[in-house]
């Protein structure tokens, strides 16, 4: 089972696909769940405190807006953990989105720099493309080391 970072990180469909084919999806749900379950923090709605943008300094310089650094405090550790990644570009908002285009740029750059296997796909716009999309994801996941159910 490989740890696969999904982009957009909030995509439930992508998360489900990765899990369904036997791997561990790394996405927003994982990062946010950890914060929601942290006892003693009172910072609704995501339990992100002003400490997160400071932690985000590991991934982005101080002149980078606090919202980008706060997001990187969540996604940065997942990027470090990732053994593979699936990137879906031009996705519909309903498929998943991370809100901030600057964070998107930084995450995609970090993934491409990391040297891990990456599958980049364009968001399907019709049924035929949809079938090809799922087939490509399946083939990529099956080819990853550490198994997976093809």
């Amino acid at each position: 089972m490989a740890k696969v970072f999904i982009y957009p990180a909030t995509s439930l469909i992508l998360s489900d696909l990765v899990a369904r084919f036997g791997h561990k999806p790394l996405g927003a749900a994982l990062g946010i769940r950890e914060r929601i379950q942290t006892a003693g923090v009172d910072s609704p709605p995501l339990q992100i405190t002003p400490e997160e943008p400071k932690r985000g300094l590991k991934y982005a310089a101080v002149e980078v807006p606090s919202g980008v650094r706060g997001r990187m405090a969540i996604y940065g550790p997942l990027l470090e953990e990732a053994e593979a990644a699936i990137i879906v570009t031009d996705a519909d908002l309903a498929f998943g989105c991370m809100g901030c285009a600057r964070t998107d740029e930084l995450i995609l750059f970090s993934l491409r720099q990391s040297g891990i296997p990456i599958l980049e796909l364009k968001y399907p716009t019709n049924e035929e493309e949809g079938v090809q999309f799922v087939a490509a994801v399946k083939k990529f996941l099956a080819g990853l080391e550490n198994g997976g159910e093809a």
């Binding site: 609704p44 002149e63 807006p65 919202g67 980008v68 908002l93």
Partner: protein
């Protein structure tokens, strides 16, 4: 118990900056509630297309769609808070254009703010208070005449001012540097009462404003404790005799600056703050001290000088002071340095704050710094307009408080 004021939040990034709770807390402390306008996902792209600003960040698209829903009347709100991350260029464009759009197409009061992870509820309090005041006290803010005998006290960061008004006239004034907040207020009040020839018991209602408004308000048993954004707007248009129609109020204070776009005496959009003391009256105080003149002499001195002869950037008070010292050491005249200091402060306010509101004439300058004629001249040059400085402009907060307090006289 009055219903909570509903403030629509249009934002990108506060949850991830860890400051969303600060926004909630600031609203809660003025008995308001912040909410995110509900819209359908399908409407987002459509709204962005209609708005015409092609942004890439999805949260900014959502901001635009929510703003449009407010203007189109699909969502009800009493005021709007627009917030985005400091230093994000894309967000700054959306924040500014959305603020302008809402201001032009609705009667909703709007405040915009760019936050960092260090933004606290305290920083946001005055802005939230102003939003709720405009929503909750429209009737009070519509008051155009002072009646009876009332007193206003403005406990500012540099000075404390008191004004006694009787039958729509200012009959007593007093001021002191703010040292011990209550003591300074008592001193200013005593002077104002003495000048008016009245005793404390003669005062029928009291209003307080400024940083020390809560402390002074409790001490004096004030009928009205009000932030300075609405009070100063009211005071400015009252003293300038321009209570109807549009105007712009600029108050360069000792610690922060206020720029307010006013319509019929009620703030529409406003900004408050200052990147640092370099763009405030505090820098001018320091300049006067370094030049060996009283602050009251700085303005006339500046009018004799040529600011262009001295490079000065008061973006930061430390660097501004360095420029000042270097210029004097290089042989620049005191007049030129004074003019450069005034121009620098005016330029900072122009660049940092006046870009965030719509300048509508007349432009009224108020507060103690409006008496520094070199500063008023520099601002006029930058805005290419004649600046109006009403009589008693240094007492603006106190006058506004006294005027509004007359709404609390028994039987009123």
């Amino acid at each position: 118990m009055s219903r909570k004021v509903r403030i629509a939040q249009l934002s990108c990034g506060p949850e991830y900056s860890g400051v969303q709770k600060e926004i909630y807390d600031a609203a809660e402390s003025v008995d308001a509630e912040v909410f995110f306008p509900d819209i359908a996902l399908a409407d987002v792209e459509q709204a962005v297309d209609a708005f015409g600003l092609d942004v890439r960040s999805a949260d900014l698209k959502l901001m635009i769609a929510r703003g449009k829903a407010l203007v189109d009347g699909k969502v009800d709100a009493d005021g709007v808070f627009i917030g985005t991350c400091f230093r994000c260029a894309e967000a700054a464009i959306v924040r500014n254009e959305l603020r302008r759009y809402i201001h032009e197409h609705s009667r909703l009061p709007v405040v915009s703010y760019s936050f960092t992870e260090r933004t606290t509820a305290g920083t946001l309090l005055t802005r939230m208070e102003a939003l709720t005041t405009i929503a909750r006290r429209r009737a009070l803010l519509a008051r155009e005449e002072q009646t009876g005998i009332t007193m206003g006290v403005d406990s500012g960061s540099s000075t404390t001012k008191a004004v006694v008004m009787k039958d729509n006239e200012i009959v007593g004034t007093g001021w002191l540097p703010t040292t011990e907040v209550i003591k300074s207020a008592e001193g200013a009040v005593a002077s104002a009462l003495e000048m008016a020839g009245l005793a404390r018991e003669d005062i029928q209602a009291v209003g307080t404003t400024g940083y020390g408004r809560f402390l002074i308000g409790r001490h004096l048993g004030a009928d009205l404790i009000q932030e300075e954004l609405t009070v100063n707007s009211k005071g400015a248009v009252y003293l300038a005799d321009h209570q109807r129609g549009a105007s712009t109020v600029i108050d360069i204070g000792g610690m922060d600056n206020k720029a307010i776009s006013v319509l019929d005496g009620i703030p529409g959009t406003f900004t408050m703050g200052g990147i640092c003391a370099g763009a405030s009256g505090r820098f001018l105080e320091m300049t006067a001290k370094r030049l060996g003149v009283d602050i009251t002499e700085l303005g006339p001195l500046a009018m004799k000088g040529m600011g262009k002869n001295v490079p000065m950037n008061s973006y930061c008070i430390v660097f501004g002071t360095q420029s000042l010292v270097n210029a004097l050491a290089a042989g620049s005249s005191r007049e030129d340095v004074a003019a450069a200091a005034c121009h620098s402060v005016a330029e900072q306010v122009f660049e940092q704050q006046l870009q965030e509101i719509d300048i509508k004439e007349p432009v009224i300058m108020v507060g103690g710094t409006s008496l520094i004629e070199g500063l008023v001249y520099a601002m006029g040059q930058l805005l290419q307009t004649e600046i109006l400085v009403p009589p008693h402009s240094q007492y603006i907060g106190a006058v506004g408080s006294a005027l509004l307090a007359s709404g609390f006289i028994k039987g009123e």
